[in-house]
């Protein structure tokens, strides 16, 4: 059982602050590191993997600083985001080489076990250059688990995987977490993270925006103000009805250049509003032509978490 601790960690490159005053503790089980692209997830993982020195704060594994300590790799496995591998060797040779680099007592047996675990036995004799993106991801996973590490760090591990491979990797991570391994994986997709991660850490713009189980994160995300663009058969009447509802805090009637109009609504209570809107329209014989979320990009959701 291992624990990775980050204490007031910041990391900057010149004028760019990649990670800003992050404190978190990763214990046994699966933790999802959620955030949009450029949020600092990879930087954080590289600091946890001992490749990057924090500009401020400390990153430790069971109390030992991680940076420049090669011995930590006996306990840490890493699945990098970048695809670069030794393309001229076969999958088997590559995983075996990784087992040998770890100086395992029986590298062949360890490589066999890792390749079987990621279900790459059939393709193990092929050169890595012939693999699909999903197969490469699985071979990367095999190299990371070949020495049975206590801590497994995965940077966007589901990229390029088909649904079956994704499900298999999720099951594998879940099992490893159940067996007391400390697993951290990064993703920018909430649905992906909430399926396996007992705990979710949200990063936005280098800051630690939220922490908790997926229910808490879901609640935070759905509780925020939502904006909708609505078109109906009588926009003006519908707008007056919506503004009378406590679940909405603002309504704007917008006319576009073609003369068509729509309503922009700011809803403060997401659940109440989506239940109320059809009833309001139905009572007034108004037909809803379009109800479209105006700010559902992941970035806007994350921005809310940071700025709340």
């Amino acid at each position: 059982m291992s624990t990775v601790d980050l204490e007031q960690v910041s990391c900057w490159f010149g004028n760019v602050v990649a990670v800003n005053d992050v404190t978190m503790r990763l214990g046994p089980g699966v933790t999802g590191l959620l955030g949009p692209n450029g949020a600092g997830k990879s930087t954080l993982i590289h600091m946890m993997a001992g490749f990057l020195a924090p500009s401020a704060g400390t990153v430790t594994l069971d109390g030992r600083p991680l940076y420049r300590d090669q011995e930590i790799y006996r306990e840490v496995g890493l699945v990098p985001e970048r695809e670069g591998m030794y393309d001229a060797v076969t999958g088997w040779s590559f995983v075996l080489a990784n087992a040998r680099l770890h100086k395992l007592p029986d590298p062949e047996a360890a490589a066999r076990r890792a390749i079987t675990t990621v279900e790459m036995t059939d393709a193990e004799g092929r050169d890595i250059r012939t693999y699909s993106k999903g197969m490469k991801q699985r071979i990367k996973m095999a190299t990371a688990i070949v020495h049975d590490p206590a801590v497994l760090l995965l940077d966007e591990p589901f990229n390029g995987m088909d649904p079956r491979q994704r499900l298999h990797l999720m099951t594998l991570l879940h099992e490893l977490g159940e067996h007391g391994r400390t697993i951290l994986f990064s993703s920018h997709i909430l649905e992906e993270v909430e399926q396996i991660a007992g705990n979710i850490e949200v990063m936005v713009a280098g800051r630690h925006a939220a922490s908790g189980d997926f229910r808490e994160i879901r609640r935070l995300m759905t509780k925020r103000p939502h904006q909708y663009t609505i078109r109906s058969t009588d926009n003006r009447m519908l707008a007056s009805a919506i503004i009378a509802e406590p679940s909405a805090s603002g309504v704007q009637l917008v006319t576009d250049v073609t003369g068509g109009s729509s309503i922009h609504v700011q809803a403060t209570d997401f659940h109440a509003f989506i239940h109320t809107l059809p009833r309001l329209a139905s009572r007034r014989d108004i037909r809803l032509l379009e109800v479209r979320p105006a700010d559902e990009s992941l970035e806007s959701v994350f921005s809310y978490l940071v700025n709340r």
Partner: protein
């Protein structure tokens, strides 16, 4: 030295396309030497020149001045540069391995390539030109080996330090050593080419003067500088590998 690192490096370095590039220069040298030998058989003057100045000129000007730096540049930078570029170096760095042992393994592979594609062809060219395994052949083979080791170490550390290692290496070998060294005598003191010619001169002994082989530095200075630069470059490469930043995305 780590055999697994060496094995992975050699399989990456000796890809089909790169082997073709590595073969081009030694084949050109051997073709040139064979042509000179054939012409020597037809013309007494050329035969006479082969025995006096043509052999050292060809082995020096083509072998030491062109072949060795260019081969070492490909081998030295190619042994680690592409792995840093595409991020695959992480598979070596995320292991409980001494960083210096990684560098030593990669340098050993680069030196092996330099010997196979540079030193051996120069030795064969020497035999073709002189018709014997004599002083000229041995001197240039030893000189080429010394140059190859030092060049490989310097170009390897360049690949660790900068993404533009090939350009910087070419500037050093072609502009500094050949152009600036030819115009400014003092620049020759800082030239792997001149240090290795000092080795050639020493191995040739008394016949060096007769064959017109002369280095800008003495044998002692050349040897010490070759050893110091090779060791310093290797140590610095290992040190830089300890703090190599592989995460380019913020």
């Amino acid at each position: 030295m780590n055999a697994t690192v060496a094995s992975l490096t050699s399989r990456s370095l000796l890809g089909r396309r790169r082997v073709v590039v590595l073969l081009l220069l030694p084949l050109a040298l051997l073709s040139l030497c064979t042509l000179a030998r054939v012409l020597g058989g037809l013309d007494a003057d050329i035969e006479n020149e082969l025995d006096t100045t043509l052999a050292p000129d060809l082995l020096g000007a083509f072998g030491i001045v062109i072949l060795m730096p260019l081969l070492s540049l490909i081998a030295g930078t190619g042994s680690i540069g592409p792995e840093i570029e595409d991020g695959s170096i992480v598979y070596l760095l995320a292991k409980p391995l001494n960083r210096y042992s990684i560098i030593v393994a990669k340098l050993a592979v680069a030196i092996g390539v330099v010997i196979a594609f540079g030193v051996v062809p120069i030795a064969v060219a020497g035999v073709v030109l002189t018709g014997e395994v004599g002083t000229v052949t041995i001197a240039y083979s030893v000189g080429a080996l010394a140059a190859g080791v030092a060049y490989a170490a310097v170009f390897l550390v360049l690949a660790v330090v900068t993404r533009n290692a090939v350009v910087v290496g070419l500037i050093y070998a072609l502009i500094w050593e050949s152009l600036v060294g030819g115009l400014v005598p003092g620049a020759q003191t800082l030239s792997i080419q001149q240090w290795s010619i000092a080795i050639v001169e020493r191995v040739m002994g008394e016949s060096a003067d007769r064959l017109g082989v002369a280095s800008a530095v003495s044998f002692g200075v050349g040897l010490v500088l070759l050893v110091v630069v090779t060791i310093a470059a290797t140590c610095y490469a290992g040190r830089r590998l300890q703090t190599l930043r592989i995460n380019e995305q913020v």
